[in-house]
Symmetry: C2
Subunit: 150 residues, 2 copies
DNA sequence: TGTAATTCCTAGCATTATGATAGGAATAAT
DNA sequence: ATTATTCCTATCATAATGCTAGGAATTACA
């Protein structure tokens, strides 16, 4: 049930971008360096993200990428679907990339019934967690770990 | 977030086995034929299942496989872990196959926080759904689809 | 206008994971 | 004995994944 590196790297970079919304665009070079991600591979990740409107690009010196929308309105599910094509654990329960499995009757296939619930559980999280939510949760945690003066 | 074919085939075969608990052992040949699964590949799946005690094997003519425990006591999570090694979407949230990711601070890594919740959601389903549950649910559905005389 | 920094685009490579096959030894029922 | 099976190891083929290379196009700015 592994998340691909494409999605992992994409999400890491977008969390970082979300954290600097409003500032000037960030170059891939900088994003890669700061998040410890392979620069050249990142290009392949940001191309579909741009085509999907999740990020905006600006060419040339001083250029780079910025979020295409408010981080509150970009949900992780959309990012994963853009980069991996689907979220479903088996193709016969996918909403956007459905393909039949080997079971004779989908309605009564035990695997399908369970995996459909798994898909729903995953989707329920990733489609209700925005970039803003994820970053905010991270900051909450980092506050928890600080020594707060009384 | 795909489930591997190993786990898919293994689960399909075990659902079938669960449905005939108490009867004589079923040969791989029969299991493969009835469930449309590749026979030779199944051997590689049933070896670890046997080592894990999930199934019992009987060699020789008339032999085959049967469940090692009551289907109520075999949960899908155990099967998937046996066949795939782990359930977690990223290694840094895995309970049984933990490996660090590239994030500098795990406690505040947004990806890790979200993927940990995803892992919990998946595990909550597969560790609380037994073979018996899955088969029962399937039969409930097939009844729904029958014409019930009034 | 030139230079440097960037995205954009296509091609291709390397490695691993996955899915599957082959062949024969061991085991056991009949 | 014969037959049907598991057991075991080796191996292969393909696809997916992760990644690199190189250069064209674009843009800021000195």
């Amino acid at each position: 049930m592994r998340l691909s590196k494409r999605s992992e790297y994409g999400l890491r970079a977008l969390f970082d971008l979300a954290d600097r919304t409003g500032k000037s665009p960030v170059s891939l070079k900088e994003l890669a360096a700061r998040n410890n991600l392979p620069f050249k591979f990142m290009e392949h990740i940001f191309l579909p993200l741009r085509n999907a409107g999740i990020v905006l690009s600006q060419s040339g010196a001083g250029g780079g990428y910025s979020l295409g929308r408010n981080p509150k309105d970009i949900f992780l599910g959309e990012i994963i679907r853009t980069l991996d094509g689907t979220i479903a654990p088996v193709s016969c329960v996918s909403q956007i990339a459905y393909e039949p499995c080997s079971c004779p009757d989908e309605e009564t296939c035990p695997l399908r019934l369970v995996m459909n619930r798994v898909r729903e559980a995953i989707v329920d999280i990733v489609d209700h967690t925005s970039l803003a939510d994820a970053v905010a949760e991270s900051k909450t945690n980092s506050n928890d770990h600080q020594e707060t003066p009384t």
